[in-house]
């Protein structure tokens, strides 16, 4: 029996062998040291969870109205009641409707004598998970009364639930848009960089042409061309493809420049001398060498697509209700009445900011981690 070194016997498994580690492992170790990137990764993970389980996370359906709480403000969570007693189960104060003596409108008023405790895994409104599995289980909810963390809009729809559903749409527009951009950019940029010559010239001029068009008017023109009678699903698909058709140019340029630079790298020449075919050269040597840079580019492209979708929807030319996206929710918040009386309608904007920042942080961390010769 050989005597193992102390380091090797550490059962925790975090003992790192940099000499036998793959490039991906090395990248991950470097990435983990980047705190902002790890926070970004956490935020992204949360958003993805919400996207997948939107029906479960949201206490109400997106169109369900709370008729006694129209335009209601966000309901804060409490642990201590008005008497100063501690409740293990968090609660919201109950609301009662009172008539305003001046306007004679019914207004919800906080009743500090009654509490509505928040419970986990409650049975509430039934829904079809991803349109397939029927269920009525929600992550949280209240047995009596109602709970609106982000308040409600003028129709009484729960802003929190709508934001959860919007997260799904916005994230998927981003992911699908970026994926389509990735495929287009890699293929077109690859042709441009690997074959060069006339094809390269034409593709580069095309990219310059597309990029020289001001984006906002271009989006507006293209989305205005979408038929008004399309369903929200059709519009959603069309918008996604539209954003991708413009978004690939940047990526194609990256792919082209990387290919051009790598073609002259000594290890590529060595591989050629070793007798590698074109296919092996691209697949085994070129592509893996800049894949990490591509991923970085994609992470940074993601918020662009996200913001583009938000801008379009905000202008009323992207997705439309009843489809929910962060941009659609913000569209409702664009008049002065909303900002003055219902500032909580702007909360989805915070999601946009957090998502964009998270992706940028992850991109930063990956860029630092991807450089194999970083210190």
């Amino acid at each position: 029996m050989t005597v193992a070194t102390p380091a090797l016997t550490r059962a925790s498994g975090d003992f790192q062998r940099p000499d036998v580690a793959t490039q991906w492992q090395l990248m991950w170790w470097r990435f983990k040291r980047h705190h902002m990137a790890m926070i970004g990764l956490g935020a992204l993970g949360l958003f993805l969870f919400i996207s997948v389980f939107a029906e479960f996370v949201a206490p109400y359906g997106p169109l369900q109205r709370s008729k006694s709480y129209l335009g209601g403000e966000p309901m804060p969570i409490h642990f201590f009641d008005a008497q100063g007693d501690f409740h293990l189960r968090p609660f919201v104060y109950a609301r009662v409707s009172k008539r305003d003596p001046v306007t004679l409108r019914l207004l919800p008023v906080v009743d500090q004598q009654r509490v509505w405790p928040i419970e986990l895994f409650v049975r509430g409104d039934s829904y079809k998970f991803w349109g397939l599995i029927e269920s009525d289980l929600h992550l949280f909810g209240v047995k009596e009364g109602f709970v609106h963390f982000f308040g409600t809009d003028h129709l009484g729809r729960d802003q929190f639930s709508r934001t959860m559903y919007a997260t799904r749409i916005s994230m998927s527009v981003g992911i699908v848009g970026v994926a389509v951009s990735f495929v287009l950019g890699t293929i077109i940029g690859g042709i441009s960089g690997y074959f060069g010559g006339m094809a390269d010239m034409l593709i580069m001029r095309l990219i310059e042409f597309i990029r020289s068009i001001p984006t906002l008017p271009l989006w507006l023109a293209l989305s205005a061309a979408l038929p008004r009678d399309w369903t929200s699903l059709q519009v959603y698909v069309a918008i996604t493809v539209l954003l991708a058709l413009i978004g690939w140019t940047h990526l194609a340029r990256t792919v082209r420049s990387k290919l051009l630079a790598l073609r002259e790298e000594e290890f590529v020449i060595a591989a050629r001398l070793s007798g590698c075919s074109d296919a092996r050269l691209v697949g085994r040597h070129l592509l893996p060498s800049f894949l990490s840079f591509l991923i970085v580019d994609l992470t940074i492209a993601f918020p662009e697509v996200l913001l583009a979708e938000t801008s379009l929807s905000f202008l009323g030319l992207g997705l439309r209700e009843p489809a929910e996206s962060w941009g659609v929710l913000l569209y409702a918040a664009q008049n002065i009445r909303s900002i003055a009386h219902m500032p909580w309608l702007l909360i989805p904007g915070a999601f946009v900011i957090v998502a964009a920042l998270a992706f940028n942080f992850i991109g930063d961390g990956m860029r630092d981690a991807a450089d194999p010769y970083a210190k």
Binding site: D19, V20, E266, A270, S274, G275, R280, S289, Y373
Partner: protein, 352 residues
Amino acid sequence: MTPLIEIQDLRVYFPIKTGATFGRVTGYVRAVDGVSIDIRRGETLGLVGESGSGKTTLGRAVLRVVEPTDGRITLHLDGQDVDIRALDRRGLRRIWRHMQLIFQDPYASLNPRMTVRDIIGESLLVNGIAKGGDLEARVVDIVRRCGLDAEHLGRYPHAFSGGQRQRISIARALVMRPEFIVCDEPISALDMSIQAQVLNLLKTLQAELALTYLFIAHDLAAVAYACDRVAVMYLGQIVELANTQDLYYTPKHPYTEALMSAIPVADPDAAVHPILLPGERPDPSNPPSGCRFHTRCRYADAKCRTDAPVLAAIADGHLVACHYASTLTLSGMREEADGTDAAIANRRKENA
């Protein structure tokens, strides 16, 4: 005895284009401009010259890593003459089993995403020479010969030092057992102490595997130590080619004289008077008329400005491209020097 490689009037021109899109070719950088040399079987031919003289381009053009513009390259394998410039892509891949390249930068020449085993064994695999256990045995054999530990084959290049990486690079070049190796400044990126190790390794491997080297370098002491013959390049052309000791002690070209005078002496009290060449290296896209060196040569006269000298034998095996090679008395490397001097003496002893 036929040489291993015959290079005849080799030219490599790179077009200069103006305008990004509809560029017209407005001229050529003449990186290699009419080079003819024979590389003898089993020798180490040194190729020296200042930066930008076309050494690397010449070395790569011989392997057709850089496409030559004109000229002839013939590889004489046993009983078979191969016209390198006439080969198609498949033919090239086959001929690269016999000719390989060792790079200058041991960091850029190894794919950071492959293990050492995959890097070295790749050529055996893609050429269908060996696979499985046979491949492993061949890789282990060459790795041992190159002074590496076979235990480390599973590691990635980043786990190795510069000297070890260069050994990996050498092992990759040699794993198919080629006859001819272009060593493109194989030691200039390494530490002093490592340089000597790699030079010795190259020597040992040459003896064991019957290799022929084209050794490109600018370190004259290393060239003296490693090479049997040395060619001096200036502005894309060979100006002098001779046995190492002839070239070092009795140079016949004024440019070689200037190079030799610049070899540092291992004696701090020695009077050093390097010949300082006036002016800048001329633009290789617009070389001077006549002898290309006349703009910086202290012996140049009217003839040098108009007539281009040809590379001709002045003594047995001593080729010079200078009108006044037989009349000029040029000084070689200082005899009292140590270092380079000792290296040549050592070489003389070995050859005797």
